[in-house]
Amino acid sequence: MSSVAVIDYGMGNLHSVAKALEHAGSGETIIVTHDAAKILAADRVVLPGVGAIRDCMHEIRRLGVDEVVREVIKTKPFLGVCVGMQALMGESEENGGIACLDLLPGKVRFFGDNLKNSNGDALKVPHMGWNQVHQVSEHPLWQGIEQDERFYFVHSYYVESAQQSDIAATCTHGVEFSAALHRDNIFAAQFHPEKSQHAGLQLYRNFLNWNGES
């Protein structure tokens, strides 16, 4: 039976991620850990994360998770979620500017004060709630998920990809941003599949069945 490592660096709701993977799966072993050997031994790896990027990056580096992630993305199906997606980018504007892992080109930017929609109505930040995810590339992780399906978001910073071909989906909250990215065996989502009911569980199921090829 295959196994999935959920990387635990002390930031975030790992209970929900692990339980959703378990629920979506069919008996895969779910391991919540920051132990490099265990992560490297798993068949698939999830990097979750919530909270401020400074603290997340600090813990990622302190625990050596950065080196493990660099190794993992060479070979295994890898899924970054929320701050776990932002951490893959070059840098983030949050906390006065924080260098991230620089595995995918692009920046993490603030939605800004006085954010407005196309009608000029004020929009709230954090972007919190169910918004439409517009798939812009075909990918095994979208299997069984409708175009423009709603997923649950909660974030004040968004990913601006510098590589068009990396974008798997977009979403709009005042600005159009990258809701999901993909490159080789990396997939990353700004939304929370573990909190997005049926569609989220379907995405996790797809990840558990994914061999890492686009």
Binding site: H23, V50, K124, M128, G129, N131, H155, S196, G200
Partner: protein
């Protein structure tokens, strides 16, 4: 198109049991928070909020187990309020599977607690719950004051100023309850809801007074709320969450259906 307006059923939990009489005819155990949460999830609730009204600190461990059980089976956002006084309370709830915690009296007692909580866990999981009552006389300008201890204790603090301060301290969302309207079924205090929604950049959840589905619509259109919370109209099977969403959609609001 954009982010959907949210409908949030709220369950009052006392020592692990749902109180205020939830009545679903086809639920075996109407006091079981797990069964009720599952039902709301099936109906399309966008989030679920648990308000722990357990009186003693000792028995409050029970809510942790409730959250764990719900989070094992229900994959939508969960908020827990009531009895959140220390950072360790928040840690426990998040570890159990809650996504957000509601802080009320502890914030009034020591506002820095909200700052510390937001720095430690991120604003996205810190909801400041505000219980407000109108205090202006007739003909005077609108004024609301915040109350604690279930609306029994006045604080002298202006509700709009308090909401702004809490957001500056790191609150990622405001859960706003009108104590005047709570339990009345005549609708939200829309002036209050709008005054606070327009004053803060973060989402505001309107609460207190819902008796009909059109009240939910008004909370958004006239109160400018991002989300609406209700308890009894859903508990007694008068309306389903699905019906509520259809009414909101028909009123031209964006909802997740």
């Amino acid at each position: 198109m954009g982010v959907a307006k949210r409908i949030i059923p709220c369950l009052d939990v006392d020592n692990g049991r749902v109180v205020k009489g939830v009545q679903f005819v086809d639920i075996r155990d109407a006091g079981d928070p797990v069964e009720i949460a599952k039902r709301y999830d099936e109906q399309g609730a966008d989030e679920i909020t648990f308000l722990d009204i357990t009186a003693t600190a000792h028995d409050r461990d029970t809510i942790v187990h409730v959250v764990e059980q719900v989070a094992d089976q229900v994959f939508i956002p969960l908020t827990v309020g009531g009895g959140i006084r220390e950072l360790s309370d928040i840690r426990r709830m998040l570890n159990a599977g809650a996504d957000k915690v509601g802080i009320n009296s502890a914030a009034v007692k020591r506002p820095e607690f909200v700052k510390e909580a937001a720095e430690k866990f991120g604003s996205q999981c810190i909801v400041v719950a505000i219980d407000a009552k109108r205090v202006n006389g007739e003909g005077e300008p609108d004024k609301w004051e915040i109350f604690t201890h279930g609306g029994r204790q006045g604080t002298g603090i202006d509700a709009v100023e308090w909401a702004i301060k809490m957001v500056n301290y790191g609150a990622g969302e405001i859960l706003l309850t009108s104590m005047d309207r709570d339990g009345t079924k005549v609708g939200f205090d829309l002036d209050l809801t709008r005054a606070i929604s327009d004053a803060v950049p973060v989402p505001v959840i309107a609460s207190g007074g819902v008796g009909e589905l059109k009240h939910l619509v008004e909370g958004v259109t006239e109160g400018h709320a991002e989300a609406v919370l209700a308890a009894s109209i859903f508990h007694f099977g008068e309306y389903t969450v699905q019906q509520a969403k259809e009414v909101m959609r028909d009123a031209g609001l964006e909802v997740r259906l």
